[in-house]
C-alpha cells in the first residue's frame, strides 16, 4: 500500500480535479459519434445505390469514406479517449491535470482539426493515404496538439501523489509516444501548395510506411488507450480487484513490442518483398495471445459478478466491448495467414473485421464510459436505465447484422472472383457479375448501422435528460490549486519498498524510464522493417535494374492527382497479387518497379470495383469518357457514381511545374526541360486527346478539361514499365 511506504500520505491529500475539461471532451465524443455514424450509414447507402450522392462531387463515396473513417477514429474515438484519460489519470495519480491552459488548447485544437478535416476532405484535398488523408498544414496542427496532450499527460504523471503508476497509465504512455512516432514518420512530405503535397516515400516504401502507420494507428489509437480505459472503468464499475497484475505486466509489454511489426499483413501476396510479408504474418500470429491477455484480465475481473452485468448497462457495454475485442483480435491473426488473406483482402470481410472492432470494442467501451461518467460528473442518477438497456441491445444486434452481412458479402464475392472452371477460365469474367450478387447485402449492412445509430440516439436523449435533471446549484468545477509541485520521491526508499515485488514494480515508480522503454520497444520492429526498405528499394538498387520505368507525363500526373482527389483508390486497387484469381483477371502480377515513382502509392485496400494496375490500353479513350460520364452506359449494372464534372471542370495546371520539380527532387527522373515545359506539354497532350475523342465520335470541346488528364493517366497504368 502506498501509504505504508512512508513516501507520501495520500489520505490527507486534498485533491481537486479538473472535471470541466472531461465534460467538454465527453460532450465532443457524443456529438462526433453521431456525425461518424451518420456518415457511415450514408457511405453504406452510396454503395447500395450510387444515386445517394445526388450527383454532387463533394458527396461521392470516394470523398465521404475518408471523412467517415476520420470522424470515427479521430473525432469519436479521439475525444473519447481524451475524456477517459483525463478523467481516470487525475484519479489514478491523485492530482489535478498539469496545466488548464494546455488542456483547453488540446480540446479546442482537436475540435478545430476535426472541423478542418470536415471541410477539406469533401473538397477532395487529400494525401490519398488511408487514415492519413489530411493535408500537410493539418498534419502539423495534429502533431502540435498531440504533443500538447503528451506534455500534459507526462507532466501530470510527474506531479502525481502516488509513488507507482497503474497499468492504465502504462497504456496511456505507450499511446502517446507511439502515435507521435507513427504520425510524424508517415507525415514526411514535400508541400506543393497550401493543400497539396507529395510524400517522400514512393511505391513499395510508401506502402510499407503507410501500413506500418495504419496498422499501428489501430494498435495505439484504438487498442492501447481503450485497454487503459478498460483497466480503469471495469474494476471501478464492478468494484472488484483487477484479476491479475502479472498478466498486466506480460501482456502490456508483449503487446507493445509485437504489435508494431504486424503492419505488412496489410500487404500480403502483393509486390512487397517476401521477408517483410513473412514478418507481418508471424508477428500477427504472435499477437493473438498478448491481445487475449487484456481480454482475460477484463473479463476475469468480472468473474463472480455476472449477476451485476445482467442488471447494469455500464457493465454490459464494457463486458461486451471486451468480448468484441477478443473476437477481433482472434480474427486479425487468422486474416494474416497468406491463404486466408488471399480470400479476405480487398473484400468486405475486412470491412466486417474493422467494424467488429470499431463498433463493438471502441464504441461499446466509450458508451459504457459515457453511462459511467455522466451521472458521476453531473452528480445525479442516470435518467432512465432501461433506455440504456435498449441502447445496448439495439447496438449489439446492429453489430451482428453488420458483421454477418459483410462476412457473407466478402467471402461470397471473393469465391466468385477466384472461381476457375474446368477449362481453366474464370467462371465470372466480369467483375460486375459478382457485385450484383452482394448489393442486397449492402442494404442489410446499412440496416445494421442504422440500428446502431438509433441506439446511439437513445443514449443522447438519456444523457440530455440526465444532465437537465441534475442539481441546478452544481458547484463550479474545482479551482486550480496554488501549487502543484513535481513529486519528490525518495528514490532509494521507493526502490527498496518495491523491489520485493519484482523489478517491474520498481519501474512503475519511474514513469519516465518506462516511457523511454516503451519507445525502445516500438523502435525495434520499426527499424528492422522500415530501414532496409527505405534504404534499399530506391531507383538505384538492383531490384529495379531489370526494369525500365517511364515517369508520367505532366498530363498523366495531373490525372493522377485527380485520381487521388476523387478517392478512386478507395474502391479500385492498383496491385495485381501473386494469386491465380488476380492474374487470370487482371494480367501478370504487379512488380515493385510498377509503382516506383508513385508518390503516394495507390495499391488500395478494398476492391468495390476491379483492379486498375494494368487497365492502360485495355479500352479506347472514348470508352473511359463515356464510362466516367455514366458508368451504366457501358456496364449496365455498375454501382459506380457518375463523374460528369470531370467533363466540365477546367484542368488546373497552375502548380504543375512545381509538382514536377518536387517529384524531381524526390528522385523521379525528370529533366529541367520537363519541369519547365510541364504546363505546355500537358496542354498539348490534352488537346490531342480531345481531338482524338471527337474523331472517335465523342463529345466536342474536352480540351483542357479534367477528363483528358484522368483518361491519360488511366491509359498509362501498366504501360510505364518495360523489362530490360
Amino acid at each position: 500500500m502506498s501509504t505504508s511506504t512512508g513516501v507520501i500520505n495520500t489520505e490527507k491529500f486534498d485533491h481537486k480535479y479538473d472535471d470541466e475539461i472531461v465534460k467538454y471532451f465527453l460532450m465532443a465524443t457524443i456529438i462526433w459519434a453521431g456525425v461518424a455514424l451518420l456518415l457511415g450509414i450514408y457511405a453504406a447507402l452510396e454503395l447500395a445505390n450510387y444515386k445517394f450522392n445526388l450527383g454532387l462531387q463533394w458527396l461521392t463515396f470516394g470523398r465521404i469514406r475518408p471523412l467517415h473513417t476520420n470522424a470515427a477514429i479521430f473525432a469519436f474515438g479521439g475525444n473519447g479517449i481524451f475524456a477517459g484519460i483525463y478523467h481516470s489519470s487525475q484519479r489514478l495519480l491523485k492530482t489535478r491535470l498539469f496545466s488548464d491552459k494546455l488542456s483547453w488548447f488540446h480540446f479546442w485544437g482537436w475540435q478545430l482539426i476535426i472541423l478542418a478535416a470536415a471541410i477539406t476532405l469533401p473538397l477532395g484535398l487529400t494525401q490519398g493515404k488511408e487514415y492519413h488523408e489530411l493535408e500537410w498544414p493539418i498534419n502539423i496542427a495534429v502533431a502540435i496538439v498531440w504533443i500538447a496532450f503528451g506534455i500534459n499527460l507526462l507532466q501530470t504523471i510527474r506531479r502525481r501523489k502516488e509513488p507507482h503508476i497503474y497499468v492504465a497509465l502504462w497504456f496511456y504512455i505507450a499511446t502517446f509516444v507511439t502515435i507521435a512516432l507513427l504520425y510524424v514518420v508517415n507525415s514526411i512530405e514535400i508541400p506543393v501548395s497550401w493543400f497539396n503535397s507529395y510524400p517522400v516515400y514512393a511505391g513499395v516504401q510508401d506502402a510499407l510506411v503507410q501500413w506500418w502507420y495504419g496498422h499501428n494507428a489501430v494498435a495505439f489509437f484504438l487498442t492501447t488507450p481503450f485497454l487503459g480505459l478498460m483497466y480503469y472503468y471495469i474494476p471501478k464499475a464492478v468494484n472488484k480487484p483487477v484479476y491479475s497484475y502479472r498478466l498486466s505486466v506480460v501482456h502490456f509489454w508483449s503487446l507493445v513490442f509485437i504489435y508494431i511489426w504486424a503492419g505488412p499483413h496489410h500487404l500480403l501476396n502483393t509486390a512487397l518483398p517476401e521477408w517483410a510479408q513473412t514478418l507481418g504474418v508471424i508477428f500477427s500470429v504472435m499477437l493473438w495471445i498478448p491481445s487475449w491477455g487484456g481480454m482475460i484480465n477484463g473479463l476475469m475481473t468480472l468473474r463472480g459478478s455476472w449477476d451485476k452485468v445482467k442488471t447494469d448497462p455500464i457493465l454490459k457495454f464494457l463486458a461486451t466491448g471486451t468480448i468484441f475485442y477478443g473476437m477481433s483480435t482472434f480474427e486479425g491473426p487468422l486474416l494474416s495467414l497468406k491463404s486466408v488473406n488471399e480470400v479476405a483482402h480487398y473484400s468486405d470481410w475486412i470491412i466486417a473485421h474493422v467494424h467488429g472492432g470499431a463498433l463493438g470494442w471502441n464504441g461499446f467501451i466509450l458508451f459504457g464510459m459515457v453511462y459511467y461518467l455522466v451521472p458521476r460528473l453531473w452528480k445525479t442518477e442516470l435518467y432512465n436505465k432501461s433506455l440504456a438497456e435498449t441502447h445496448f441491445w439495439l447496438g449489439t444486434i446492429g453489430i451482428v447484422i453488420y458483421i454477418v452481412s459483410m462476412w457473407t458479402a466478402g467471402i461470397a464475392q471473393s469465391m466468385m472472383l477466384n472461381a476457375v472452371d474446368a477449362t481453366g477460365h474464370l467462371v465470372y469474367p466480369d467483375f460486375v457479375q459478382t457485385v450484383v450478387r452482394i448489393v442486397p447485402l449492402y442494404y442489410v449492412r446499412s440496416l445494421g448501422g442504422l440500428m446502431y445509430f438509433v441506439g446511439y440516439l437513445l443514449m443522447v436523449y438519456n444523457v440530455v435528460k440526465t444532465i437537465k435533471g441534475a442539481p441546478v446549484a452544481l458547484a463550479a468545477s474545482a479551482k486550480r490549486e496554488e501549487a502543484n509541485p513535481v513529486l519528490k520521491l525518495d528514490t532509494q526508499a521507493l526502490v527498496q519498498e518495491s523491489i520485493s515485488e519484482g523489478p517491474h514494480r520498481v519501474l512503475e515508480g519511474f514513469p519516465m524510464v518506462m516511457t523511454v522503454l516503451a519507445v525502445a520497444a516500438v523502435l525495434v520492429g520499426t527499424m528492422i522493417e522500415l530501414i532496409p526498405m527505405i534504404t534499399s528499394t530506391n531507383a538505384q538498387s538492383e531490384e529495379f535494374a531489370a526494369f525500365k520505368v517511364k515517369p508520367l507525363t505532366s498530363l498523366q500526373l495531373a490525372g493522377r492527382d485527380i485520381y487521388v482527389r476523387e478517392g478512386c483508390y478507395l474502391c479500385h486497387s492498383q496491385m495485381i497479387r501473386t494469386t491465380v484469381g488476380d492474374v487470370l483477371r487482371y494480367g501478370p502480377a504487379s512488380e515493385t518497379a510498377d509503382s516506383m515513382y508513385d508518390h503516394p502509392f495507390q495499391w488500395g485496400s478494398k476492391r468495390t470495383g476491379p483492379d486498375l494496375a494494368r487497365v492502360g490500353g485495355k479500352y479506347p479513350d472514348l470508352w473511359h469518357v463515356r464510362h466516367l460520364l455514366n458508368p451504366r452506359d457501358i456496364v449496365p449494372q455498375s454501382i459506380m457514381p457518375t463523374y460528369s464534372w470531370l467533363l466540365e471542370q477546367k484542368l488546373d495546371l497552375g502548380t504543375i511545374e512545381r509538382r514536377f520539380s518536387v517529384l524531381k527532387m524526390l528522385g523521379v527522373p525528370y529533366s529541367d526541360e520537363d519541369v519547365k515545359n510541364a504546363a505546355e506539354n500537358a496542354k498539348k497532350d490534352s488537346i490531342a486527346i480531345a481531338e482524338d475523342l471527337v474523331k472517335q465520335g465523342g463529345p466536342q470541346g474536352l480540351e483542357n478539361k479534367e477528363i483528358t488528364a484522368l483518361v491519360a493517366y488511366l491509359q498509362s497504368l501498366g504501360k510505364q514499365t518495360e523489362k530490360r
Partner: protein, 194 residues
C-alpha cells in the same frame, strides 16, 4: 518475479497485491496455463515459419503462382481442341440455343462498344457490309474476338472467355449481319458482299 501477497495487506484475499489506485485493487492470479501454452506455441510457430520461408527453401509466392498457373495452362491445353472450322461455326449460326447464349454474352461484353444491337458506338458497326479486319467470315470474326485488336481497344477475349462461349458469341455476331438496326454507325473499312 512477483509474489502473491504483499506483507502490508490486511485483506483476506490471498491474491491481493496490496496495490490501491483510486480504490482499484490488484490481484495476482497466475495467467491461465492455456494462455502461456498458446503464447509459447505461437512464438515457436513464428520462429519456424520465418526459418522456412525466409532462410530455408520455403516456396516463394512467385513460385507458387507459377506452379498454379502451369496447372491452369494444362487445363486450358486439354480443353483447346483444334481451331473450329468454318463449318463448325456456321452450324452454330443455325442453332437457336447457341444464338441465345451468344446474345447473352454479347449483352454482357460487347454492347458497351458495339451498341446493344451491334449498330456500333465506340467500336464499329457489326451489322453492315463493311469490315475492317478480315472479310466478315465466321473464321475472321472468330480470330478478331479471340485475339482482339489491342491497339484499338478490342480485348482478346480468348484469354477471358471459355472457348465454347467465344464460338457462340461469334455465331451471334454473324447472325445479326444485315439486320439494319436504327442509328447505325457510319461504315468503316472495306465493303464486302457475300
Amino acid at each position: 518475479m512477483t509474489k502473491e501477497k504483499d506483507p502490508h495487506s490486511n485483506s483476506d484475499n490471498p491474491h491481493d497485491m496490496g496495490h490501491d489506485y483510486d480504490g482499484i485493487r490488484e490481484d495476482n492470479h497466475p495467467a491461465p496455463t492455456w494462455w502461456w501454452t498458446f503464447f509459447i506455441i505461437s512464438i515457436i510457430f513464428g520462429f519456424f515459419y520465418f526459418l522456412h520461408y525466409s532462410l530455408m527453401d520455403g516456396e516463394t509466392l512467385k513460385h507458387r503462382l507459377a506452379r498454379d498457373m502451369d496447372q491452369i495452362e494444362s487445363l486450358r491445353a486439354k480443353d483447346a481442341k483444334a481451331e473450329p472450322s468454318e463449318a463448325d461455326l456456321t452450324a452454330l449460326v443455325a442453332s437457336p440455343a447457341a444464338l441465345k447464349a451468344g446474345r447473352e454474352t454479347f449483352a454482357g461484353k460487347c454492347v458497351s462498344c458495339h451498341g446493344d444491337l451491334g449498330q456500333g458506338g465506340i467500336g464499329p458497326n457489326l451489322t453492315d457490309n463493311y469490315w475492317i479486319h478480315g472479310a466478315g467470315t465466321v473464321t475472321d470474326i472468330y480470330h478478331v474476338v479471340t485475339q482482339g485488336v489491342l491497339e484499338k481497344g478490342m480485348p482478346a477475349w480468348g484469354a477471358v472467355l471459355p472457348p465454347d462461349e467465344v464460338k457462340r458469341v461469334v455465331a451471334y455476331v454473324k447472325s445479326i449481319h444485315g439486320s439494319n438496326p436504327p442509328n447505325p454507325k457510319p461504315p468503316q473499312g472495306t465493303e464486302i458482299h457475300d
